[in-house]
Amino acid sequence: MTRFQRFPVAPTGLVLFWRAAAIAVAGVIVACALALSGRNPFELAGLVIHSTVGSRFGLEDLALFMTPLVLTGAAVTLTRCIGLWNIGGEGQFYLGAVGAAGVGLYVSGPPILILPLMAVAAMVCGALWILVPALARAWINVNEIITTLLLNFVAGFLVYWLATGPWRDRVTGALVSTGRLPVAIPEMWGAVHYGFPVSLLVVCALAGLLRRTVWGYEVRISGANPGAARYAGIPMRWRIIVVMLISGALAALAGMFEVAGTVHRMQGGMANNFGYLGIVVAVLARGSCMAVIPAALLVAFILDAGIVLQTQQLAATTVLAITGLVLLLIAIADELAHYRPVGGIGQGKASA
């Protein structure tokens, strides 16, 4: 008698199989929805392929979208290693933009000094933004999902206020925007700036930190088995605080790259859901830092496809709905991957 049994570990092959199925189902649902609204899904698919991976501009856009996604995805992945969620990437991204724009607008000097200073200011701002949720989690066990998320709205208002008030653009009068920054991250390939390779390097360094150091080992143990970690004398509170602060700093670095490399000003709404999409990237990466890179590529592809759909008179938020659909189906797929067929009841016990 064949039956399915749940195993605690999901093998990578099965995960990939179910995920491919999930993405295929999402594709079919989206195609049906497009067909129902009177559009030709095959024509649109061709258009999407051409304007993402099929052209130079498309590839540049992919790299530009990937840069912040890799960092916000790494930010969430890092907190997942210790069993927590950082849903506040959006807010930390904004604070990174604030820190970077503040230095860029008001400190003058050679770019070689100003750019690192902007990055440091951004990361400090991002880490400070997550400080209260981190302390509340470590000392009084307050749910970090809610606290990090609520600060996103506060950060949005802060940026809006700065960009319409004290830091507003007095030269061209652009709405909800600061003036153009005098420094920019140099470009390396078309519109792609050096933030792209740097973000990839940051993720590799993070992977090394988690896999090759005692600190990283302790963080992973604290996440996998808090009871054992406490018994082994690992200072959990400090691990939680430091992990959350680094996570905030990573998301903020994404904000700095966006301000200094892509947008060149600080604008209201510039976080563009990158913080929330970082959660999707982290989920796709399943807690592995190196897997953040292909995961960010997939999400960047969805975002890029969304831009194409917008040129076809589809609402900008359609892409948000598509992302939600993909996320839901992948969550189900990941659970399905835990099940494997076992022979009889006796055999099942033998293999488990």
Partner: protein
């Protein structure tokens, strides 16, 4: 001064109604052990559906019911994924939020910014509405107010703490294996209470777009769903506290509105941020100042954990 207080209180009752209704639904879902983080998206769906409905059928109650149906549809999807398929609740909640925000913007595109043709009108209760301050604030409101602040909280309180079914429901949230052994269907209870919570979240969206801000615009929910989820923690997973907490937060946002309308010498961004910072303070400070609260207002023991019968 009396005028100011009256205005403040009636604005608080209105704004708080949205939060109370959504928080009440979330209390019931979380008591069975399921965290539904999709409230923000479900509210958005409800708000858009309500406006679309009243454009065809000019009756706010029809719009309210349609919004509850839309919320339940999202809830069925979420309950299928988390209770039947037992997928990760945090992820599915975020997915429902994304789906709801995106889908509501797409379907509401054609009616964005158009004032609602009908809305919940105020009804003056005889005698009670003549009481100074309290009368206009509490007894000259629209009818859903009584549903939100009196009928549902009391009903849910009695159901949860004074009936056998409520005991079963709480057992499912605390120790599903024990509940299962006692012959209670964990799956059925979790499934239907998640759908109920989602329906109330949809209703809260309708209350927002038909009573508080009578129109639909993209992003109008503006974090109210997340505040409602936070209020459930603040309220210690108790329906009476949840509805009161909604009222308190209604008061905070009413102060914000009034401050901007009357040009108080407080910067507008500070007033805008106050509901979010207030929520943050309210879930951190009480636990910090009174550590016993942590045990008293603790979450159901199995909150967020899927139940596998075979892994006992």
């Amino acid at each position: 001064m009396i005028m100011l207080l009256t205005g403040l209180l009636s604005a608080a009752v209105l704004a708080g109604g949205v939060l109370s209704l959504a928080a009440l639904g979330e209390v019931m879902a979380e008591r069975t052990g399921v965290t539904d983080l999709g409230v923000e998206g479900l509210m958005s769906m409800g708000a858009a559906t309500a406006i679309l409905t009243v454009m065809f059928v000019p009756n706010p109650w029809v719009g309210f019911l349609a919004a509850m149906a839309a919320g339940s549809a999202g809830g069925l999807l979420f309950a299928f994924a988390t209770v039947i398929m037992r997928a990760n609740q945090v992820l599915c909640g975020l997915a429902v939020t994304f789906l709801g925000l995106g889908f509501s913007a797409a379907i509401g595109h054609s009616v964005a910014g158009i004032p609602a043709p009908v809305s919940f009108a105020a009804v003056k209760l005889p005698l009670l509405s003549d009481i100074p301050v309290i009368g206009p604030a509490f007894f000259s409101q629209n009818l859903p107010v009584y549903l939100i602040y009196i009928i549902l909280p009391l009903g849910f309180h009695v159901l949860l703490f004074h009936t056998r079914h409520g005991l079963n429901l709480r057992a499912v949230g605390e120790n599903p294996a024990a509940a299962d052994a006692a012959g209670i269907s964990v799956t059925a209870i979790r499934f239907w209470y998640v759908v109920l919570g989602a329906a109330l979240a949809g209703g809260a969206g309708a209350y927002l777009s038909l009573a508080v801000i009578p129109n639909w615009s993209e992003g109008m929910v503006a974090g109210r769903g997340w505040i409602a989820v936070a209020l459930v923690i603040f309220a210690g997973y108790r329906p009476l506290n949840a509805s009161l907490a909604g009222l308190i937060f209604g008061l905070i946002s009413a102060v914000g509105f009034l401050g901007q309308a009357r040009d108080w010498p407080i910067a507008a961004p500070v007033l805008n941020m106050s509901p979010y910072l207030g929520t943050l303070g309210f879930i951190i400070l009480p636990v910090m100042l009174w550590p016993r609260l942590r045990r008293l207002f603790a979450a159901p023991a199995s909150l967020g954990m899927p139940y596998y019968r075979e892994e006992r």
